[in-house]
């Protein structure tokens, strides 16, 4: 926890430094008709650096405690995270509906070891239902790929 706290504080300070840097470019003082664009972000960045330094100082004074994440926990978190990331990559090429069918089917088979019949029913049923609700009923378009183009959408 202590290391994670220190790393987070360091990352946030780096981010705040970027904010301060860009605010200085925009001007942090009084412009022709009021405060410049950089005025508000500049002070936010300054406040962030100060608060993060104090958090880091608090963390340093603490003795080392339980780890941020255990190996087993991390592996189950990654088991959710990487298929989700892969699904988002896939969405850019084949659209949301096909990507979610592949993603759900893969996940159900790989983690849940469900029967192929269940996998097919839910993996295809859910995207089809979503398609009708969003594209047809509420007219909210989702990213589409070659399959939808082939079907004429």
């Amino acid at each position: 926890m202590r290391t994670a706290d220190l790393i987070t504080a360091a990352v946030l300070i780096a981010g705040a430094a970027l904010v301060i840097f860009d605010s200085l470019r925009l001007g942090v003082g009084w412009g022709t008709d009021g405060p410049n664009s950089g005025f508000f972000p500049f002070w936010l960045g300054v406040g962030m650096v100060a608060a993060c330094l104090l958090i880091a100082f608090q963390a340093l004074r603490r003795s080392a405690d339980k780890p941020f994440v255990q190996r087993a926990q991390l592996s189950s978190v990654l088991k959710v995270l990487w298929p989700a990331t892969a699904a988002v990559v896939l969405m850019q090429f084949v659209g949301l509906y096909v990507a979610s069918a592949i993603y759900m089917g893969f996940y159900m088979r790989w983690v849940g070891r469900h029967r192929w019949a269940t996998v097919a029913a839910i993996g295809i049923g859910v995207p089809v239902a979503t398609f009708f609700v969003f594209e047809k009923w509420f007219l909210v378009p989702m990213p589409k790929g070659p399959l939808e183009t082939w079907l004429g959408y």
Binding site: G38, V77, L81, V111, V126, P143
Partner: protein, 506 residues
Amino acid sequence: MGLENLALGFHHAVTPFNLFVAVIGITLGTIIGVLPGLGGANGVAILLPLTFTMPPTSAIILLTSLYWGALFGGAITSILFNIPGEPWSVATTFDGYPLARQGQSGQALTAAFTSSFVGAFFSIVLITFFAPILAEIALKFGPPEFFAIQLLTFSSFVGLGGGNPLKSLVSILIGFILAAVGLDIVTGQLRMTFGFTDLMKGFDFIVAVIGLFGVGEILLSVEEGLSFHGATTGMNLRVVLDTWKTLPRYWRTFVRGSFIGFWMGFKPGGATPASFMSYAFAKRFSRHPERFGKGELEGVVAPETAAHAAGVAAMLPMITLGIPGSPTAAVMLGGLIIWGLQPGPLLFKEKPDFVWGLIASMYTGNILGVLMVLAGVPFFAAILRIPFAILTPLIVVVCAIGAYAVHSSMIDIWYMLIFGVVGYVFKKLDYPLAPLVLALVLGDLAENALRQSLIMSQGTLTIFFTRPIAGAITAVAIFFFALPVITPWWRRLRGLPAAAPAPRET
């Protein structure tokens, strides 16, 4: 004057279409409240795009009904599965789960839903009478007053939110910084985009809500490896009626819980402390304090009444001042802007049919809600029996759809994933997420109020102290900001032991 307007509101809320919308909203909301990883805030965020084509009154009824449903759904998982879906349901598990284990889940659920209803109803009645008065006062507010109220909102997270106050402060600052990214509408300059065109439109808080609360929550909950051990429901009409006969006995707890809930609830982050406070009071005044924690019905009544009174009270600042009291209210506020309404005190003057329709729908929504959840418990509890490997990818897909639909942009799905990881890390490190979301929503409003105030005062900050209303609010805000520094010092002076860290609101 209030009652005439309320009648007008009922005229708008009680149409067949709006009642149908309310039923849909409550059903979806309860499902969302029961599902792990989905709660009121991101449920409302995901459904928001579907309301773009609806009339505003029906749209807000759908979203508020969803919110009531989610509040009810939290009680089901707390009692039957010992899983508090929301932080303010934690106190409900103390006695609710033991009752369920003793085969009295029907009694516990009936008591929980009835208490929620009573608490919510109390707050709605108070809103009916106070909202117009507050809006009337707020009409006289200028930019300094609005900025002072924003300060007060965020100071209460730092001073009263529990946890590490520095981390609350950092969350607020992150929210404001993310809100500032992109085009500055006042000067037309690009801020913090560093040449990336994707950053020009900034970060949408709806995407942040879906990522932080939805994806982040899933990642957190899979750490423990999900397996549900639920108690059976055992609900039927006889149990409901028998429980109702015993409930009037606890009238003191109802009244106390409602007051605590309303009082804590209209300030941000109030629902969780309200539920714990109400539980503690009920235990202290009980004739059998030793029974608490082992399955005492009063231990379910107390926190549920207060949590729902607070959940409803969070709507008060949203409708009157345009400043949301909770992340869910913040998403609804975003909806108002998308539907072309200007949130704030003028809403009462310009769109009375919308405001009063909303207030009237709170009555109908809660009455419908309590009846529906009482009847539908077995159905809602069955949702948690869906296998984990089906539920998890389904929730991720639903989150992705919600994130994409906001601006029809693929980058938002990526932001959602990143916010999900950030939410997971922040939650583990005790950085609160609610103030981050609220700051992201209010960022532009707060900055404009600050700029306009400074232009009025030619650049000195004294304007926040010299105007009477702004001065009083600023003073309270500064007191709240200073509270974490004052409290230990005060305790040492009085020779009291250091306080135990308070539970953290989301």
